[in-house]
């Protein structure tokens, strides 16, 4: 077996160890590289900045624990921004497995950091079943879809809900999404009927698909992956997991590019040798 073949057949566990080191080492030896701000994230930030004080922002938690490392930082940063501008937050979700994540975010940011009051400054309706169908109903009659909040309180007993009846009440709808049901359904079933400002935070896998909707104006902003969350953390000046993760992300990306280049160099040299 030639040297090239030996490298090509490298035990994959060696590759696994290098990937692990690429992610772990920057935690101990941080690079602290600055995070640049991209236009889609800046656009969303500007929309929230320009909303009149006291506007209602709907945040839909459409993800589960497998999307949390990317979307939790985005959710928390957006909530911080909204609360700092005295906007009200209406939380719901199309994923049952995302409900505790939304509850934790509101507890930590709303009640913990900004001393906001449940029922007056924010409300959580948890899991709304039905996916796209529920969104069609939601825009028409919020009280019919959200009959009880996540704690079992009837919607009519929640002070904040007196002025929220239909899609017109929301200054911005933000879908924190990682699949179906998610941003696709918000765009096709909600925004197509009820218009208004719609934005999305996506896991990195889904983000490339939504640039086409940014271009048409169907989305007013897009936070893509952990990098997008790190950008928003920088904009609200409160650094968290996403910013810390950028160093590991950088080194891991360089490592993977190096592996791809090495694999191709070996492939071509082996091909030339055989010819």
């Amino acid at each position: 077996m030639s040297v090239f073949e030996k490298i090509q057949n490298l035990d994959r566990r060696i590759i696994f160890v290098t990937v692990a080191l690429a992610v772990i080492l920057p935690l101990f030896f941080p690079l602290k590289l600055p995070v640049d701000i991209t236009a889609p994230v800046q656009q969303l930030y500007d929309v929230i900045e320009d909303l009149p004080e006291g506007s209602v922002v709907l945040i839909s938690i459409d993800y589960d624990p497998s999307g949390a490392p990317e979307l939790d930082p985005a959710t928390w940063s957006v909530m911080r921004h909204c609360f700092s501008r005295n906007h009200k937050i209406f939380v719901m979700g199309l994923w049952a497995t995302g409900v505790p994540l939304g509850m934790r975010a509101l507890e930590t940011v709303g009640a913990g950091e900004y001393n906001k009051e449940y029922g007056i400054d924010y409300v959580d309706f948890g899991y709304i079943p039905g996916g796209a169908i529920a969104l069609v109903n939601l825009g028409r009659d919020v009280h019919d879809v959200c009959r009880e909040d996540v704690y079992g309180t009837a919607v009519d007993e929640i002070p904040m809900m007196k002025s929220i009846k239909s899609a017109d009440a929301f200054g911005l709808v933000l879908s924190m999404s990682m699949g179906v049901p998610g941003s696709d359904q918000w765009i096709l079933y909600y925004h197509a009927r009820y218009r208004g400002n719609l934005a999305t935070a996506q896991t990195a896998i889904g983000a490339p698909k939504y640039y086409q909707y940014l271009q048409t104006g169907q989305l007013v902003g897009l936070i893509g992956g952990m990098k997008g969350a790190a950008e928003y953390e920088r904009l609200v000046n409160k650094y968290g997991l996403a910013t810390i993760g950028m160093d590991s992300q950088s080194i891991a990306h360089l490592l993977i590019i190096a592996f791809i280049v090495l694999g191709n160099v070996i492939y071509w040299m082996e091909k030339r040798r055989k010819n």
Partner: protein
């Protein structure tokens, strides 16, 4: 909520899953089956409290809305699948559900996708103000966008052989698809590394307290 013995449980389960990287083993299998069972139980709980109870049982038994017997009956017909003799009854709830969702999907596809997407493709060229309204690279970008959308659509038209000028346009579509797939690969790598970072941070910060 993650503290004390619970964080050690979380840590142990994390390592059990990562043990798969060495090779498949009983610790990984146990963790995997716990996850499947727990997830199924979690969904069943939410299904009842958020789905069935407020939409079916509460309107019927608490509010006296007897029309709700219809969806309840259709729902129970779903279980007829479990017996071969009565399995045909599942067609009733299935066709109801399909009828509603297909009707909505059709409208959504036209109203939410086809019309706005086509409009967005051609709109920058309206009023002939491309290079006046947008900067140079954005204007080039819109030309690239238009060519890309049309050539990609041509590529997916398999009813005609991809030869000559038609084939050339389809080939251009392939190049656009390769760029899009490459970009998606880059983002996929980013997503997976982010997830790994999340777990690594948990291990060294939340569990072992090695980093602050």
């Amino acid at each position: 909520m993650t503290s004390g013995v619970w964080v050690w449980i979380a840590g142990a389960l994390t390592l059990a899953i990562y043990s798969f990287l060495y090779k498949d083993n009983p610790f990984y299998k146990v963790a995997e089956y716990i996850f499947v069972g727990l997830s199924a139980g979690y969904w069943a709980v939410y299904l009842f409290w958020n789905f069935a109870y407020p939409n079916l049982f509460q309107p019927l038994f608490s509010e006296g809305n007897y029309w709700n017997i219809i969806p309840l009956a259709l729902g129970f017909m779903m279980f007829t699948q479990l017996s071969r003799r009565s399995a045909w009854l599942v067609r009733f709830p299935l066709t109801f559900v399909l009828g509603v969702s297909l009707g909505l999907q059709l409208i959504a596809a036209v109203e939410g996708d086809v019309v706005p997407q086509l409009a967005g493709t051609f709109e920058p060229f309206s009023r002939g103000a491309l290079f006046n309204t947008y900067d140079f690279w954005t204007s080039i970008g819109y030309i690239v966008l238009l060519v890309g959308v049309l050539s990609t659509l041509v590529y997916f038209f398999f009813s005609r052989e991809h030869k000559g000028v038609f084939g050339g346009i389809a080939r251009t579509g392939v190049f656009y698809l390769m760029i899009a797939f490459g970009a998606s690969f880059g983002y996929t790598v980013m997503a997976r590394v982010s997830l790994l970072f999340g777990r690594v941070h948990f291990i060294f910060h939340d569990w072992l307290h090695i980093i602050r």
